[in-house]
């Protein structure tokens, strides 16, 4: 039961809070989309829907995304079970590390895989699935981990004492408890893989085309906007269906009560300790190997190890319009990231709170996931149309990129925050009310501490998304320094060791920056409230 369901002590503002994310989505998503579609619409575009290749691509992309999701869960769940539940040295670092692949620009991921696997790097289905699983690991670990940390072990012990085997207990108790978060992370990974672009272009072949890659091809190679608009609408419809399915599947009756997130000490038994250690090492290897490969690439030239790439950071293209200073790019990226973090945390936070407070809120929160399925090209061009004419000409303000990034990050913020907030017993609000707390005070007594922790964590994730994004951003013409991912893309697009060397250096910097950001956010989030070790 939520506080909105007939409870009298819901603060009035809370009942209207869904209007904030709704307004944001209307302005940043619906208006640009409608402008783009109406502006470019022509019946000719619909012809693509009758094209057999469209449906072939759709079914192949569905299979690819399903496999990517399955593999992500297969690798992500064991990691989540260790990283989010047990207290051990380096836990925070491990958790931050898992986030790194998620924010690595696809170019960097491809570069890392290539550096790692050399020219033997195969193209096609398998490598695309692997890359998607690698990139989306963090989605599973973060979303499922947050809920796993609140699992009450007593239910498990009860099941075991009733004669359930370890596996049965896990299946019937743990998985049942985790179901909503597993489904919501699976929906996110599926959508990311289904609409993937960079990895498809860089590592894919004919078997891995996505609607998204077709949309980009129609917009920026063939300049065939009607077809692009038709494909974008098709993709949007499919994604909406997936979100609706996910929402229906995660509804459940009779929930186990979550407990306050607390870390367990490592188990005593030699066997289970070894298992945990094995998982931790395997996870470390999976995440770290590509990163290490990049680090080595940043320190190597044909003739051996060198610091030359690091030293030439300041001087590459100095004195030209190509902003040579990586510092300028870093500052630009950080500025966008911070703005995105704040905007996405506020909007996504309001949406997550709306889920608790209002029937409409739940719909709005579902609606807020849709930007995940909007193609970067559609978004970029739509924003250009919507905010490119007086009186709303934002093109010169530099706000379009953070706006686009925020839109892309909001779904993740909701995905992180909503389950955590739903895990709180709404009756705590009632207790506060019977003790004389006004509705607003009662709400914050119940939800405030979690809200603080989770908003910071989700905002950090939004920052990270912004740091790594360049799909939509690349469409939005801007003056000033390019973001770090754009800079990396430019560097790898020209020959010479210097280019790849400095690109590797910038990738390493981007990874370090992400690590620092996520670590800092985790630390901030743990302060005051948050995770403690229970004994």
């Amino acid at each position: 039961m939520g506080p909105g369901d007939g409870a009298l002590n819901t603060p009035r503002w809370l009942r209207g809070i869904w209007l904030i994310p709704l307004a944001f989505l209307l302005v940043a998503l619906v208006v640009p989309l409608v402008m783009l579609v109406t502006r470019t619409w022509s019946g000719d575009g619909l012809r693509i829907l009758a094209d057999a290749s469209t449906w072939q691509i759709t079914s192949l992309a569905t299979a690819q995304a399903a496999l990517s999701t399955a593999l992500s869960l297969l690798i992500g769940l064991p990691i989540a079970s260790v990283v989010s539940r047990y207290s051990f040295r380096g836990r925070a670092f491990a958790q931050a590390l898992v986030t790194v692949p998620f924010v690595m620009p696809t170019v960097v991921v491809a570069m890392a895989f290539r550096t790692l696997l050399g020219s033997s790097l195969p193209q096609g289905f398998a490598i695309v699935v692997l890359a998607h699983a690698y990139v989306n690991l963090a989605v599973v670990v973060r979303i499922v981990g947050a809920q796993w940390a609140q699992h009450d072990d007593r239910y498990l012990r009860a099941a075991r004492s009733l004669g359930a085997s370890r596996l049965t207990a896990f299946r019937t108790i743990t998985l049942q408890f985790l179901r909503p978060s597993i489904i919501s992370s699976a929906v996110v990974v599926f959508i990311f893989s289904f609409t993937s672009l960079g990895i498809i272009v860089l590592l894919g072949d004919s078997s891995t085309r996505t609607l998204e890659s077709q949309i980009l091809r129609r917009t920026s190679v063939l300049l065939d906007f009607p077809t692009a608009a038709a494909l974008a609408l098709l993709q949007l419809a499919l994604i909406s269906a997936v979100i609706a399915l996910g929402a229906a599947a995660s509804r459940q009756r009779g929930r186990q009560k979550p407990v306050r997130a607390a870390l367990l000490p490592l188990p005593r038994g030699l066997g289970s300790r070894a298992t945990l250690r094995l998982i931790a090492i395997a996870a470390g290897l999976i995440v770290l190997l590509p990163v290490l490969a990049l680090l080595i690439a940043s320190l190597r030239s044909d003739s051996g190890f060198t610091l030359q790439w690091w030293r030439s950071l300041g001087s590459v293209d100095a004195g030209t319009t190509r902003i040579g200073s990586p510092l300028a790019s870093l500052m630009q990226s950080l500025r966008f990231a911070l703005l995105t973090g704040v905007v996405a945390a506020i909007i996504g936070g309001c949406a997550a709170i709306a889920v608790l407070a209002h029937r409409w809120g739940r719909l709005v929160a579902l609606f807020a996931i849709i930007p995940l399925g909007i193609s970067a090209a559609t978004l970029g061009l739509g924003m250009l149309l919507a905010f490119g004419r007086p009186p709303f000409d934002l093109r010169a303000t530099g706000l379009l990129i953070p706006l686009a990034h925020s839109l892309v990050a909001v779904p993740l913020v909701v995905a992180v925050m909503a389950p955590a907030l739903r895990g709180i017993n709404p009756r705590i609000q009632d207790v506060a009310a019977t003790l004389g707390a006004r509705p607003t005070r009662a709400f914050f007594t119940a939800y405030g501490p979690t809200l603080r922790t989770v908003t910071i964590a989700a905002g950090g994730l939004a920052c990270a998304v912004s740091l790594g994004e360049f799909g939509a951003a690349s469409f939005l013409a801007r003056t000033g320094a390019p973001t770090v991912p754009l800079q990396i893309v430019r560097l790898v697009s020209r020959p010479g060791e210097l280019s790849t060397g400095v690109a590797a250096v910038m990738s390493v910097i981007l990874i370090a920056l992400t690590l620092a950001l996520v670590l800092g956010v985790d630390r901030l989030g743990r302060r005051g409230n948050g995770l403690r070790t229970s004994h």
């Binding site: 409870a7 009756r427 019977t434 004389g436 005051g528 403690r532």
Partner: protein, 212 residues
């Protein structure tokens, strides 16, 4: 005579269930137990009296004042729930002092008063502890003094011992009964356990009878 709590033709309900008209009378300092099987609507009645659920019809009168339209936080009704529902981010004393802070006492005044109350229920020295560190019985005791701290006119007890083991349950029921009499607080105690009802209350009603 003025009752501490009176309900006039009060109808409560949720979803597709609603009770009959309930006329409840609780005198000052009296403890009334309401007996009934789990899930029959007793908790809904208490929540409605506390103001966290709307009354479908009828009136709730506390100390002679009709509070049916008064929001929960302005009613002088305290409530203890089946679970302690302590605020996890506050220590024990801050939990107990919460209601006093809402009445305008400073945090330190509230804390001082909370420590006295804790001592009174045998939890001296627990003020600085985290609520995670309490046993089930201790937590429920903290929840009880937390509800009593703002000095409500009526205290509603919604099966507060149901999660505890039998031994502890009886001991605590005894303790609570004494505490309430000691302070002269009127109370409505809801339970499915006739023995517990008998041990604690002056008056035992059957929910089935009053809500028919």
């Amino acid at each position: 005579m003025d009752f501490a709590l009176r309900t006039d033709r009060l109808v409560v309900g949720y979803d597709d269930w609603e009770s009959g008209a309930i006329d409840l009378r609780v005198g000052p300092g009296m403890i009334t137990a309401i007996l009934g099987p789990s899930g029959c609507g007793k908790s809904t009645l208490l929540s409605t009296i506390a103001g966290i659920r709307p009354a479908l019809s009828g009136a709730v009168i506390v100390d002679g004042v009709d509070v049916t339209q008064v929001p929960a936080h302005e009613r002088t009704v305290g409530m203890v729930f089946q679970e302690p529902l302590l605020f996890p981010n506050y220590d024990v004393a801050r939990n107990v002092g919460y209601g006093l802070e809402r009445q305008g006492f400073s945090r330190s005044q509230a804390r001082a008063r909370a420590l006295e109350l804790l001592e009174w229920v045998g939890l001296a020295g627990f003020g600085d502890r985290s609520v995670d560190e309490l046993s089930g019985g201790q937590a429920q005791r903290v929840a009880l003094v937390r509800a009593l701290a703002p000095q409500p006119a009526v205290l509603l007890l919604d099966e507060p011992f149901s999660a505890l083991d039998v031994d502890l349950r009886q001991r605590l029921a005894q303790e609570v009964s004494e505490l309430l009499r000691d302070r002269g607080v009127a109370a409505v105690h809801v339970t499915h356990d006739p023995a517990e009802a008998a041990a604690i209350a002056d008056d035992v009603l059957n929910f089935g009878d009053i809500s028919a």
